[in-house]
């Protein structure tokens, strides 16, 4: 619910995610919030951005209608191209994707993601799996991760590394022949994070109304902050502008993804 702030956590996440798309980028867009974030970005600061979807869609503008999935007909109608998965994945593999979006049930200190299976006490819970996430994580020039902010999701080491981030840090990606650049940002429902030169997560900004001290205990390791990595203070994440909120609500009129 929007509440007194005038926007929801997810609307803020859409706004933050949209800002991660630069004008001229080709973005690899997946399920859920990124579906909205791309449409916001291309409608505001990134009019020359393009989106590709692993289903086989290339788009340069918002869909004329709500997108529940990337295959909803409004996403195909008047697309730049409707093609196949290997066409899209080949663009990724040859290094032509600037930014890819990922989610996860678990993330660890170096941005590795798990969407395959998690432990809950004695029980091992099966999740849907990779989809295209492993491919995006391996090969996009940079990735941006969106997750609900829940402490159980932040783990020292993912139980299953579905989508490699910076592995164990340092030059892990190069040493393991993982070609893309790896994660550059994590946006949760409470804060935004970056990755330092060693590939370790650090707190970049807290969302309005959230304090740094609220965030720290959610992590099972000593969380670094912007200050620790020498890029200044932890800031407050910018609120979504009226324009962004209005667009978000146009693209998600019933608030299915963002309320």
């Amino acid at each position: 619910m929007a509440g007194e702030r005038g926007y929801t956590d997810r609307e803020l996440m859409v706004s933050a995610a949209a800002r991660e798309i630069e004008d001229g980028d080709t973005a690899f867009v997946g399920m859920r919030l990124p579906l909205i974030a791309f449409q916001v970005a291309v409608s505001t600061h990134a009019p020359n951005a393009m989106a590709v979807y692993e289903s086989g869609v290339v788009r340069d503008d918002p869909a004329d209608g709500f997108l529940h999935t990337m295959c909803d007909l409004p996403n195909l109608d008047r697309a730049v191209s409707t093609t196949g998965m290997l066409d899209i994945m080949s663009r990724l593999q040859r290094g032509d994707i600037d930014v890819g979006f990922l989610g996860g049930a678990e993330i660890d200190r170096h941005g590795n993601l798990n969407t395959t299976r998690v432990r809950a006490g004695d029980r091992e819970i099966r999740l849907p799996g990779s989809g295209g996430a492993c491919d995006i994580a391996c090969m996009a020039n940079r990735t941006v991760i969106l997750m609900a902010h829940e402490s159980r999701r932040f783990v020292e080491r993912v139980h299953y590394n579905t989508s490699p981030g910076h592995g164990t840090g340092g030059d892990w990606r190069e040493a393991n022949a993982v070609p893309g650049g790896g994660p550059v940002a994590l946006v949760t429902s409470k804060a935004s994070f970056g990755f330092d030169a060693d590939g370790e997560l650090y707190l970049r900004s807290v969302h309005p109304g959230v304090t740094v001290d609220e965030i720290r205990p959610d992590f099972p390791w000593e969380l670094k902050t912007a200050e620790d990595v020498g890029i200044g203070e932890v800031t407050t994440t910018p609120e979504p502008t009226e324009e962004v909120l209005s667009l978000t609500r146009r693209f998600d009129p019933d608030g299915f993804w963002t309320q």
Binding site: G56, C71, L127, P128, G131, G132, Y160, N161
Partner: protein
């Protein structure tokens, strides 16, 4: 005259035997052959291996019906709601073997099958547990550059089942909109079942040979089945029935609940016509603002 392969859905699906491997749901959330999958449930064709990138809820339904021994896929669940309860329970109870893929690795495995080569190389997978915990993939050095690559071995399904907009009785089919891994899966399959929204005169297909996604020589049967992809969308025909997916999610969190769902929607209905009777008029999903493709001509 070429051989006609028109069949009823039950005749076509009868050809799939227990123990066969079946690729379906290849265009991701688009054009999923739900009607064909439901006929598998009615015929109780079991011990299946299912193959596909993501399945949306069709795999969950076939698993819930107890027909599936093994899944080779990148993602199994419910795109609207996340979890597929029948899949989750089957894995956790140990009754279902899962070969974990990424979307690219399943597409490459099928493409290798389609190209008639034993494997294809990729720059994906290395560094992930999709690779490390699999005994399917192999790491190899590129002999040209020395780069490390993952090799994805071919998958050749016994059957690929697809839903298309229109086909002729020989099996040649037009398809448009996003195709996901459909083309590789058709090329890789031993046999193909084409479910068409509409069976058309051969001359309709021949009027646009670059629109042809499937040619007859691999096709075992052609079935006409309007709304056969519901609740998934079909380009130019009908929109996704989002509410149906959410209701499925709410209705299948226990085995008993799933059985009730399956009795209502699959086991207790007389084919796709019966399903549509239960559903009520799906016309509200129809494309109401069609975009007509710009004219294309061939000729001489």
């Amino acid at each position: 005259m070429p051989r006609e392969k028109r069949a009823s859905m039950s005749e076509a699906i009868e050809r799939i035997q227990p123990g066969d491997s079946v690729a379906l749901g290849l265009a991701l959330e688009h054009a999923i052959p739900f009607a064909a999958g439901h006929e598998l449930i009615r015929q109780n064709t079991d011990e299946l291996t299912l193959i596909g990138p993501i399945s949306d809820i069709l795999f969950d339904q076939l698993i819930g019906a107890g027909l599936v021994d093994r899944v080779r896929a990148a993602w199994v669940g419910n795109v609207s709601a996340g979890t597929g309860y029948r899949f989750r329970e089957a894995v956790e109870s140990g009754s279902l073997a899962v070969e974990n893929h990424s979307n690219l690795s399943i597409a490459l495995a099928l493409q290798a099958g389609a190209m008639g080569v034993p494997y294809l190389p990729t720059r994906s997978l290395l560094g992930s547990d999709v690779f490390d915990e699999s005994d399917l993939f192999v790491e190899a050095e590129d002999p040209f550059s020395g780069d490390r690559l993952a090799l994805v071995p071919a998958i050749r399904p016994d059957w690929t089942v697809v839903h298309v907009q229109r086909a002729n009785a020989y099996g040649d089919a037009h398809f448009w909109g996003n195709a996901g891994a459909m083309n590789p899966a058709v090329g890789a399959a031993e046999n193909v079942i084409v479910v068409a929204e509409e069976l058309v005169d051969p001359e309709v297909i021949k009027s646009d040979p670059s629109r042809v996604a499937i040619t007859r020589e691999q096709v075992a049967a052609v079935v006409e089945c309007p709304y056969g992809a519901h609740p998934s969308p079909l380009t130019g025909r009908y929109n996704r029935d989002n509410e149906y997916y959410l209701r499925y999610h709410r209705s299948t969190d226990t085995r008993a609940a799933f059985d009730e769902w399956a009795d209502k929607w699959v086991r207790g209905v007389d084919g796709r016509a019966g399903y549509l009777d239960v559903l009520g008029d799906p016309g509200n999903l129809d494309v109401s603002e069609p975009t007509v493709a710009a004219e294309v001509t061939y000729g001489r």
